[in-house]
């Protein structure tokens, strides 16, 4: 059931992605609406799927990689949809969808194969670590997608042609505000997630820093984000620089947290 719900939401995210891509190329507002409605339906199915993980498992846990990835994708879509209340950001939500598609597809194929026993993540701190870090990552992910969109929009405006896009991208100012909000919220959540992870490590191994690849790479990513947050809020970086950093930072974070986990 959990797998089916994940497959369904993956299909929904794929439809939303395609509708968004087509909606940017064709001057038809209905495609953008289709994309948003598909996202709402998919995110509901996805929520049921995540709840299912908790109900089905003997000892409810989010600490397996597939579950954590699924949660991260769900939070990112929820955040992107919440942003729609703030302005013309349909294409942002639509472009977060391909990431959610990849994540739910991965979860759908791997959730069944992970036995609860393989996870040492029982208890409050591990759950808190995954929830906080996933929330932080999802927000920073939305900031990264907004950054990519900002760079594309900035390029169009500077080059003075719309290219093959028939409908305008979200305004640069709106994308920059997404960047601020996502960073202001995402970085503290990521930090709390890292702290929760340290507490968990302390309880498990007796020291806060286990020196493994996950901890090391996440530590580097956290330092990079700290520099980014300082540049943005203390030094007044904005616009193109902030957008490029958000995009590059998230690519690195994704590698550090998920990529390293998958390789190791």
């Amino acid at each position: 059931m959990v797998t089916v719900l994940h497959q369904l939401s993956a299909a929904g995210y794929l439809v939303a992605t395609l509708a968004t891509a087509l909606g940017l190329a064709l001057p038809d507002a209905r495609l953008a609406r289709l994309s948003v409605w598909t996202l709402f339906v998919s995110v509901a199915a996805h929520a049921a799927g995540i709840a299912g993980i908790q109900l089905v498992a003997a000892t409810p846990s989010l600490t397996t990689l597939p579950a954590a990835v699924s949660l991260m994708a769900w939070l990112a879509i929820v955040f992107a949809l919440a942003l729609l209340r703030r302005g013309r950001l349909e294409s942002l939500a639509g472009l977060v969808a391909p990431f959610a598609f990849a994540a739910t597809l991965y979860a759908a194929f791997t959730l069944g194969g992970v036995s609860p026993a393989a996870s040492s993540g029982d208890g409050r701190w591990p759950q808190l670590h995954v929830i906080l870090a996933s929330a932080g990552l999802s927000l920073l992910g939305v900031a990264g997608v907004a950054g990519v969109l900002f760079l594309a929009g900035n390029r169009q405006l500077k080059a003075k042609r719309r290219g093959s896009l028939r409908r305008p991208l979200p305004s640069l100012e709106a994308l920059d505000r997404v960047n601020v909000a996502a960073l202001a919220l995402g970085f503290p959540l990521l930090t709390l997630g890292v702290i929760a992870g340290m507490v968990w490590s302390q309880a498990l191994n007796g020291h806060v820093w286990d020196g493994g690849p996950h901890a090391t790479w996440t530590g580097i990513a956290w330092v990079i984000y700290l520099a980014l947050v300082l540049a943005r809020f203390a030094m007044g970086w904005r616009g193109r620089e902030a957008a490029a950093c958000a995009a590059a930072g998230f690519a690195f974070l994704l590698f550090a947290v998920v990529g390293v986990e998958m390789i190791s």
Binding site: L157, R161, P168, E173, A174, R177, G236, R238
Partner: protein, 449 residues
């Protein structure tokens, strides 16, 4: 009579070239142009997007040569065009029907950088008014320009080209929305003045733009504009501070070199903590250094850039443009008929002159022989005049009717041969020597007794 049009526009010449040929007041240039005698009537249209001369001539080759040298030596001040541009590529030339069609397309805004924009008709009207007042325009161009105004009016009312005006103003709002999430908390700065730029500001205001400042060389002018837009008035010396406070900068200022440069914008960005600035520069020559667009967070659009954006929407307007072209063609045909008919006027005048000369000669001979009293002389005078008019009425009306079409020229030729109208020794030939412009207008003559 030939109609010749020569000029350059946004498609053949980049702004760097056009700005060198632009003319503030066409009157003295027109006086110089018609003084040479190669062209008879002339109108000079100089806007931000085109510099064109339309003229009438009886000596096409001489007039062509004259217009080329007028553009390259006089308007262009003899400066060489940039290497990559040949004068043949920059300057276009249209003759007769093509020239007429070109003017009608220009007036109807089909040829405009932004198709359907309403300003061009006013500019064409101004150009004609200046030529008419300075005496450079005569009956043929008068008729041609009324045809152009009529065509423009029809295009506006009979097609939807004006219903969806893709104006500079609308494009400015569209671009502003791509940069800013909302215009409600944004401020504009208007440097200089001009119809197009003021319309852009008005459009931004109605899209929600909050406040505005106006800067001008003369404080009185700034104050007047400020009153109209509910804005604050400033002098040019305050520009650095004003740019820092403006989210949208609109410029249309008559200055030889850029008024706003990159260091000024860099300082402004620093002061406003790098919040974006959208700059619309429609000054020709440009008011903002193009290097400004290389700065992050500044989006500079000059006239050519706005035109390129408009071009991207051309596909959607193509159907309406096609209908407008149909209307233009109808009006071109109508004017062509009038112009062809113009060729009948000298023939008809000579024919009438010939008949009148014969009548007068015969009347004089009879009077000398019969020595009639005054009453009889008057009666015979009226009788002969009536006969001549009645005999000529049919042929003259038919000549005129046929002359509106191209094949009518054969009838004119026949009339000239049959009545030996080209023989200068024949009686009545001197009638052709009069040169009263009113008389050249078909239907405007006095041949309907």
């Amino acid at each position: 009579m030939k109609i010749l049009l020569a000029g350059m526009n946004h498609r053949t010449a980049p702004i760097e070239v056009r700005e060198r040929f632009a003319v503030d007041d066409p009157a003295p240039w027109l006086a110089k142009l018609v003084a040479g005698g190669e062209v008879e009537e002339a109108v000079l249209l100089s806007t931000c997007n085109r510099v064109e001369v339309i003229a009438t001539t009886r000596r096409l080759d001489a007039a062509r040569h004259r217009l080329r040298s007028f553009f390259l030596r006089e308007l262009g001040r003899g400066e060489l065009l940039p290497d990559q541009l040949s004068s043949h590529a920059v300057l276009y030339e249209h003759v007769d029907t093509d020239a007429v069609r070109h003017l009608l397309r220009v007036a109807s805004s089909i040829d405009s950088l932004v198709v359907g924009e309403p300003q061009i008709l006013g500019q064409v009207k101004d150009a004609y008014r200046v030529a008419a007042e300075s005496g450079a325009s005569g009956p043929v161009l008068s008729r041609l320009f009324s045809t152009a105004f009529a065509a423009a009016k029809r295009v506006r009312s009979e097609t939807r080209i004006a219903e969806r005006p893709v104006s500079v103003a609308r494009i400015a709002v569209d671009l502003a929305r791509q940069i800013f999430e909302t215009l409600a908390d944004k401020r504009a700065l208007l440097v200089g003045a001009g119809e197009m730029i003021e319309m852009a500001l008005e459009a931004l205001r109605s899209a929600g733009l909050e406040g505005a400042a106006v800067a001008n060389r003369t404080p009185a002018h700034a104050a007047e504009l400020a009153r109209r837009f509910g804005a604050s008035a400033h002098g040019l010396d305050e520009l650095p501070g004003l740019v820092a406070g403006a989210d949208v900068v609109l410029t249309c200022f008559a200055a030889e070199r850029p008024l706003l440069d990159a260091p000024l914008f860099e300082e402004a960005l620093r002061l406003r903590r790098r919040r974006s600035i959208f700059v619309i520069d429609i000054g020709v020559p440009r008011n903002v250094d193009p290097a400004v667009n290389r700065l992050d967070d500044v989006y500079l659009y000059d006239l050519d850039d706005l035109g390129a954006v408009a071009e991207a929407n051309a596909e959607e307007r193509r159907r309406e443009t096609l209908r407008a072209e149909g209307i233009v063609q109808e009006e071109v045909d109508r004017f062509g008929g009038w112009l062809t008919a113009l060729a009948a006027v000298p023939t008809i005048r000579r024919l009438r002159g010939r008949a009148e000369a014969v009548r007068e000669a015969e009347l004089a001979r009879w009077a000398a022989r019969a020595a009639p009293d005054e009453a009889s002389r008057r009666a015979v005078e009226a009788l002969t005049r009536a006969i001549v008019n009645k005999v000529l009425h049919g042929p003259v009306s038919r000549l005129r009717a046929h002359a509106e079409r191209e094949e009518g020229l054969a009838y004119l030729q026949a009339a000239r041969v049959l009545f030996a109208l080209d023989d200068p020794a024949a009686p009545g030939a001197e009638a052709d020597e009069r040169d009263d412009p009113e008389d050249r207008e078909p239907g405007g003559g006095s041949d309907e007794a």
